[in-house]
């Protein structure tokens, strides 16, 4: 413990300390016991993907402040997802990624791969324990498995309190190794789908690693306000391409589709993110929570996320928490809706809308009802709308179509929490 002679005004810090002593409830220490949180999330995109995701999380808080959390998630996705090809003025036929069978998209429709079907199970364990009065270490393991994708990860974060626990500094890292073995093998980047099958594919399995570092400060501003700043750096290496995504090759004048090539992305990605969050408790117990994130990477993607929530305690038992989130993304440098046939292929190219330029708005609310001292039931209902921007100039017939159709989704989550 570093001791300094008291200099300057310490009365405010003393006020917080005395308040915490006299209120007895002022300490944020969690009550020892078991906490079970369970929820089922339903996510439904209009005309596209549907997902159901049950989550069960059990946390044991020990008398000495140690904490163990186990979380189990299972999700299943069905429906259709854009395959990357552009809308065309003629019907389009695609071979399924597995190489088995075909599917057809009508003229004027966005090509969607309707073989999209997957289920995933994920398990994680996090153990959080004090090293001494002011320092905590949190370590975790995670594992997730789906049909053609496996991820294994671990993480550790060290948090140290300063300044009478009014300031907390955190440093952490996370490492994950992902392996994918898609049915039909790994496509050769930018290879034409017209090539013989064995020339389109290059092996069965690829992997990638993700290494994240985080530094953060949480600061108690006053009795009502808490502020948090984080910077994180993420380094991805390996196979970062989306194996099932395509790009259309179109005629440079008419814009008509003449063929398809596979998605290709760089094999490294460096991401940076800055995060700021403020939580303000009003005198009546309501909580205002506002955050902003700026994220940028060396793929030239940059995004802003603004998130706001208001926890309105209608009564002792019932609360309503409206939520609004705005997301804006600038496209990756190699993003293109299509490539011009006959021109030299770029090194990397992708028409995956997730790497495009778009705005997304989520609006919704959570409703919670405390059944008794030990349990709460809650429902979250949200609507998401994504509006894409066309990047570059459409060619020929492309002018007749929306190159980046809007996406609408609804999210409904039902949760139940129990403590014993």
């Amino acid at each position: 413990m570093q001791l300094k002679q008291p200099k300057g005004k310490i009365n405010n810090l003393l006020a917080v300390a005395a308040c915490s002593l006299l209120n007895q409830t002022g300490s944020a220490q969690e009550v020892p016991g078991w906490y079970i949180d369970s929820a089922v999330l339903g996510y439904s995109e209009k005309d596209r993907v549907d997902a159901i995701e049950p989550v069960v999380s059990a946390t044991r808080v020990f008398e000495d402040g140690r904490k163990l959390n186990l979380t189990f998630v299972a999700d299943s996705l069905t429906g259709a997802s854009p395959n990357g090809a552009t809308i065309s003025n003629a019907p389009q036929t695609f071979t399924r990624p597995s190489g088995l069978g075909i599917y057809t998209t009508e003229a004027g429709d966005l090509p969607l791969d309707d073989t999209f079907k997957d289920s995933r199970t994920a398990l994680s364990a996090q153990y959080d324990f004090p090293l001494n009065r002011l320092t905590r270490l949190s370590t975790g393991l995670s594992y997730s498995d789906e049909y053609d994708y496996t991820s294994v990860g671990f993480n550790a974060t060290l948090a140290r309190d300063f300044n009478l626990k009014n300031t907390t500094l955190s440093v952490g890292f996370a490492f994950a190794n992902d392996t994918m073995d898609p049915e039909g093998g790994i496509p050769v980047p930018l290879a034409s789908t017209a090539l013989p099958w064995n020339q389109q594919r290059q092996g069965d399995e690829e992997d990638k690693t993700v290494l994240d570092f985080l530094v953060g400060v949480t600061q108690v501003i006053n009795r009502q306000t808490l502020m948090q700043f984080n910077y994180s750096y993420s380094q991805q290496d390996g196979y970062l391409t989306e194996p099932f995504k395509l790009l259309s090759l179109v005629d440079g004048t008419t814009g008509e589709t003449s063929g398809y090539v596979y998605d290709s992305r760089p094999d490294t990605r460096e991401k940076h993110s800055l995060y700021w969050k403020t939580k303000y408790s009003r005198d009546n117990g309501d909580i205002i929570d506002v955050s902003y994130r700026y994220l940028w990477d060396d793929w030239d993607i940059a995004s802003h996320t603004i998130d706001g929530r208001y926890r309105w305690n209608v009564s002792d038992k019932f609360y309503v928490e409206p939520h609004i989130r705005y997301y804006n993304q600038q496209e990756a440098g190699f993003f293109a809706h299509s490539l011009v046939a006959g021109q030299a292929l770029p090194i990397d190219a992708s028409a995956d809308y997730r790497l495009g330029a778009f705005n997304g708005v989520t609006i919704g609310s959570k409703f919670g009802y405390r059944l008794n001292d030990r349990s709460e039931i809650n429902v979250r209902v949200e609507a998401y709308e994504q509006q894409g921007d066309t990047v570059g100039n459409p060619i020929g017939v492309q002018n007749n179509y929306d190159m980046f159709p809007d996406l609408e989704a609804t999210i409904i989550q039902i949760g139940y929490s129990y403590r014993f």
Binding site: N11, D64, G65, R133
Partner: protein
């Protein structure tokens, strides 16, 4: 130590005054209630709380939590939630004061028994005690506290002010009448006796004992005093005050005789008075920085 478990309730005009002894102090509760039975009930609650805290944190009772901690001989002791809060507060005050406020410094009184001796202790004795002082040598990981063998703690510097605030909290939950709690000069009130009149409180001047030298008015909040003018020793012509520096083992130089601070609650007022006392000749400038109302007697 025998505890006098008597309470006394008298009427003074429109105010009921309850008296009892606790924590080696004369304690009184002033209540502007009409009803004698309510006054009696409030007095009973106040005395019960003061005695509870006195007993729970007494160093002289073998079964107290403090005795259990001090006799653990290097082993860890599991403490209850209230004690954990007090320990948290004590550690925070230790940090805030730069180590000058230290609940493990009581052992120094072995070297400085101001009342019975007029000779200065030997350097050797003080040096032998210093290794047993300093909260940084302990391990506090709620709810487990571990002291190195031989170390001791006591809540003497916090307990009375804490008891005053706790007591007013309990009484305010039972009545919204104007109430003032005074445990040996550590005072807190919830409001003035009526909307336009404050409580009038005298502050003893160190030089003129038992006379209300300065009269001050209190409509809300607390007053606490650090200092006891009766305790000092003169050796080789130097007057040593009673406030000891736990880092050096020697009395704080040029400490005021007494400091009274007004603040929102008694715990805070008492701690500011104690911190200021530990600043010695800088007591006043320290208090000026805290932007509080204070009275210093030198």
């Amino acid at each position: 130590m025998a505890i006098d478990r008597q309470t006394q309730l008298v009427s003074q005009g429109d105010c009921w005054v309850g008296r009892f002894s606790a924590m080696a102090s004369d304690c009184e509760v002033l209540m502007h209630v009409n009803d004698e039975s309510l006054a009696g009930k409030l007095l009973n609650v106040a005395a019960t709380e003061a005695w509870r805290i006195e007993q729970k944190y007494s160093r002289y009772r073998e079964d107290s939590i403090v005795s259990r901690i001090n006799s653990a001989d290097g082993e860890s002791t599991e403490v209850d939630a209230e004690t954990a809060q007090l320990l948290d507060f004590a550690f925070q005050c230790y940090e805030l004061s730069g180590g000058l406020f230290d609940i493990s410094s009581g052992i120094l009184k072995q070297a400085w028994p101001f009342s019975s001796s007029s000779t200065q202790p030997s350097h050797a004795l003080i040096e032998s005690l210093l290794p047993l002082i300093g909260l940084e040598k302990t391990q506090w990981l709620a709810p487990y506290l571990t002291l190195p063998a031989g170390m001791q703690i006591d809540f003497g510097g916090i307990g009375k002010e804490y008891a005053v605030d706790r007591t007013l909290g309990l009484l305010s939950g039972l009545s919204d009448a104007p109430i003032l709690v005074n445990f040996g000069g550590d005072i807190v009130c919830n409001k003035g006796p009526s909307s336009d009149s404050p409580w009038r409180i005298g502050i003893e001047d160190a030089e003129i004992q038992d006379e209300a030298q300065q009269l001050l008015e209190l409509t809300s909040g607390a007053l606490a005093t650090s200092g006891n003018t009766k305790r000092y020793l003169i050796s080789n012509g130097i007057r040593y005050g009673h406030v000891l520096n736990p880092i050096t083992g020697w009395p704080i130089e040029a400490a005021p005789l007494s400091i009274t601070v007004a603040e929102g609650n008694c715990t805070r007022a008492g701690m500011l008075a104690t911190f200021a006392m530990l600043q010695g000749e800088n007591a006043e400038s320290f208090l000026d920085q805290q932007e509080v109302k204070y009275w210093v007697a030198r």
